[in-house]
């Protein structure tokens, strides 16, 4: 069959969520609803020190007075925050257990996701801290990391073991009052990852975390804090898949990165939460706040491949506070069926000679809406700030939308800001050309999409790039073949 608009449409519609399975693990779940008592109970459940409990309660009180933002280019039914359970932990999980003790069903689930917690990871030089629902159940390579003085553990554990470090940095980049979802996360987060790289240390392996929403009706509110001390380097990978669920699930994470003088952080994400079915039913609401603080000569690169979620609201940002600091944002956002994504970045230039690069690739198919929203802000003191932005959109079919909302605010005359944007469509002639060379339509679309996304895929660590490419294919191809 040769490719036609009509056939492409059909093919895309038949796409099913590959990771749509549900593992039945007994969970220790709180009653639904949110109140100050629940917030305190979460804190108590996790044996947190008083300062942490107070911090949460303060966040809760702020959140209570806030309103859910509605400026993004997305439409969805606002979640009922009183209908969500705010704590859920796999019952049989215990961080002190060995792998043999881990629930076999859980291990089976990892297997389906292609996550191996065994020696293979070691060969691939990846330390994995896996979060299922809210509690980390497996942590590897602690020893290798410990030898370098690197701390990489679930944040709940870090609150117990390194309270001073956590207390010093938590909420310094994304304050509890920052926005509605960040405040909510601050009040109710149950786990996430904490990473500290000491001065002058290059982290010898890619640090990675896989998140996964599992329990029905529970949201996940991860909290990630990465601190790279002076002259240190770390590459952090975050990958997500979620099982298929009928009702919408809320995911409101907060990620804070701190790159001190001369430090570098690479933060890569592959996001594949359940996008909802082809009628637009179900799917994850992904409302994420990610922000990095760059001190003098520091560099932060955000790379994201966003293929999942029904609604995405996400702007990984860089505060370029220190002179000569560098911020980078490389993004691929794929939307299909009824998915909606409003994603982009903020580059806030405060220091002198600060530089930022934004490369955004949006791919829309089905009836989806894909928006890039970006802010490049140059403060009056930021002499010689430089920015380059490139936003490319690729459309498939006639019913989807691509939107670009670039905001530029320059208060210093020496600023140099460039913005480029293109919109293109996968053409029947391109598909036929590939077909004629023996490449079927499905593979042809994958080839064209990968070519379109290449600049960003190239920024990912090798093993992640392969996974990301696969995800792009899964997200856009039909179940043909």
């Amino acid at each position: 069959m040769a490719y036609t608009e009509e056939e492409l449409k059909k093919e895309l519609e038949t796409k099913e969520y590959e990771y749509g399975f549900y593992t039945d693990i007994e969970s220790d779940t709180f009653p639904i609803g949110l109140s100050e008592e629940i917030v305190v109970a979460i804190s108590k459940k996790k044996n947190e020190p008083k300062w942490m409990t107070d911090w949460r309660v303060e966040a809760y009180r702020v959140w209570e007075k806030m309103e859910e933002p509605d400026w993004a280019n997305v439409n969805y039914e606002k979640p009922d925050f009183q209908a969500i359970s705010y704590y859920s932990a796999p019952k049989k999980a215990d961080p002190n257990k060995t792998l043999d003790d881990v629930d076999p069903e859980l291990l089976e689930m990892y297997k389906k996701l292609g996550i191996s917690i065994d020696e293979q990871k070691k060969l691939q030089n990846v330390a994995v801290d896996i979060v299922v629902d809210s509690v980390s159940v497996a942590t590897t390579f602690q020893k290798t990391l410990a030898e370098k003085g690197i701390i990489f553990m679930p944040i709940s554990e870090a609150i117990q073991k390194h309270p001073d470090l956590v207390r010093k940095y938590l909420g310094t980049v994304v304050p509890t009052t920052d926005n509605f979802y960040a405040a909510l996360n601050s009040a109710v987060f149950t786990d996430g990852s904490f990473c500290y790289i000491p001065k002058g240390v290059r982290c010898p392996m890619e640090l990675s975390t896989y998140f996964r929403i599992n329990q029905a009706g529970t949201g996940q509110f991860e909290r990630t804090l990465v601190v790279a001390d002076q002259e240190s380097y770390v590459s952090y990978l975050e990958g997500c898949t979620a099982p298929s669920r009928d009702e919408n699930q809320l995911h409101a994470a907060v990620v804070e990165l701190i790159a001190m003088d001369d430090a570098e952080i690479k933060y890569s994400t592959v996001q594949n939460w359940f996008p909802g079915n082809k009628e637009g039913k179900g799917g994850v609401y992904n409302f994420v706040t990610k922000r990095a603080l760059c001190e003098k000569n520091a560099k932060v690169s955000w790379t994201q491949v966003e293929t999942g979620s029904a609604v995405t609201w996400k702007y990984p940002s860089c505060i370029l506070k220190g002179d000569n600091s560098i911020g980078e944002f490389y993004s691929i956002a794929v939307t299909n069926n009824y998915q909606q994504a409003d994603t982009g970045t903020k580059m806030v230039h405060l220091g002198k000679n600060t530089r930022s690069t934004i490369i955004s690739k949006g791919i829309s198919a089905g009836k989806s809406q894909n928006s890039y929203r970006g802010l490049v802000q140059v403060s009056s003191r930021a002499e010689n700030a430089r920015n380059f932005s490139q936003c490319d959109s690729l459309l498939m079919g006639n019913e989807c939308g691509a939107h670009t909302f670039p905001y530029i605010e320059a208060k210093n005359k020496t600023a140099m800001i460039e913005h480029e944007a293109t919109t293109s469509k996968i053409g029947e002639d391109q598909i036929f050309y590939c077909n004629q060379r023996g490449i079927d339509t499905e593979k042809a679309i994958a080839l064209i999409v990968n070519g379109f996304s290449k600049e960003v895929l190239n920024k990912l660590p090798m093993e992640f790039a392969v996974e990301a490419q696969k995800l792009l294919e899964i997200s856009l191809e039909g179940s043909v073949g």
């Binding site: 391109q430 004629q436 023996g438 490449i439 079927d440 593979k443 064209i448």
Partner: protein, 250 residues
């Protein structure tokens, strides 16, 4: 090898091919000439299986098998190759990657494993030498920013890589300067053997000085109105198409 019987094809209800009969045997080179709008490119597209065109009557047979129900990629797997008049751009996909995908997809269709990287590299090296292609060229995005000549040379490079049974060259000479024409033609000649067949679609006799056809056909108004040997091409060059049109009108 290729048999076309009373082929009728239309686009958006408008008849373009009005009863084509053509037989191409293994080891033969056929040239199809004709004025603009006579249906030459349509014929090439229809053989390749482009579904923009609707086959309303007649059939196309490859090795006695009717290929009507085969998709374009299946026809490619069976050895049909079309050198496009206007090759499309695919940004971000290198020539090498594209060829690797094409070859492995064809192998997959035949139940073969992917070609080992070592063999692939050797093949690319050999074929790029054959067409005097600079290796740097192969890492560029497919047809993006290519000159007219580079695009056509790249088409023939792909033909060399895929080693088709039946190659249709649709106005491969257009946009080529005389040096590029010679290189491309030499490449085609080296690829020619007793088991494959080549159909050259062209306006001009120039290309046929290099790729010498066994038969020349004149397509006019959706029909082959005259067939002959290479001398026919010379005659057309000299006299133009008007006399053909007049003959056809009678």
């Amino acid at each position: 090898m290729l048999k076309i019987k009373d082929l009728h094809a239309s686009v958006e209800g408008k008849g373009i091919l009005k009863g084509i009969n053509l037989e191409v045997g293994a080891g033969e080179v056929h040239a199809i000439m004709g004025p603009n709008g006579s249906g030459k490119s349509t014929l090439a597209s229809v053989i390749a299986g482009n579904e923009t065109y609707e086959v309303t009557a007649g059939g196309i047979f490859l090795d006695e098998e009717n290929i009507e129900d085969l998709s374009p990629e299946e026809r490619a797997h069976n050895g049909v190759f079309l050198s496009f008049q206007y090759p499309v751009e695919i940004p971000g996909v290198s020539v090498t990657n594209f060829m690797k995908t094409a070859i492995n997809e064809s192998r997959k269709a035949k139940g073969l494993e992917d070609m080992p990287a070592k063999d692939m590299l050797k093949l690319i090296r050999d074929k790029s030498e054959l067409l005097e292609i600079d290796r740097k060229f192969l890492s560029r995005s497919l047809n993006e920013g290519f000159s007219g000549g580079e695009k056509k040379r790249n088409e023939i490079f792909q033909m060399a890589m895929l080693e088709p049974k039946l190659a249709i060259l649709d106005e491969t000479d257009s946009g080529l300067d005389i040096d590029a024409l010679r290189i491309v033609a030499n490449g085609v000649n080296k690829l020619k053997n007793k088991d494959n067949a080549i159909v050259v679609i062209t306006h001009y006799q120039r290309l046929l000085e290099y790729i010498v056809p066994d038969y020349v056909h004149v397509l006019y108004n959706g029909k082959i109105v005259k067939s002959g040997t290479k001398e026919l091409a010379l005659e057309l060059e000299e006299k133009g198409y008007d006399w053909i049109k007049q003959e056809a009108a009678v």
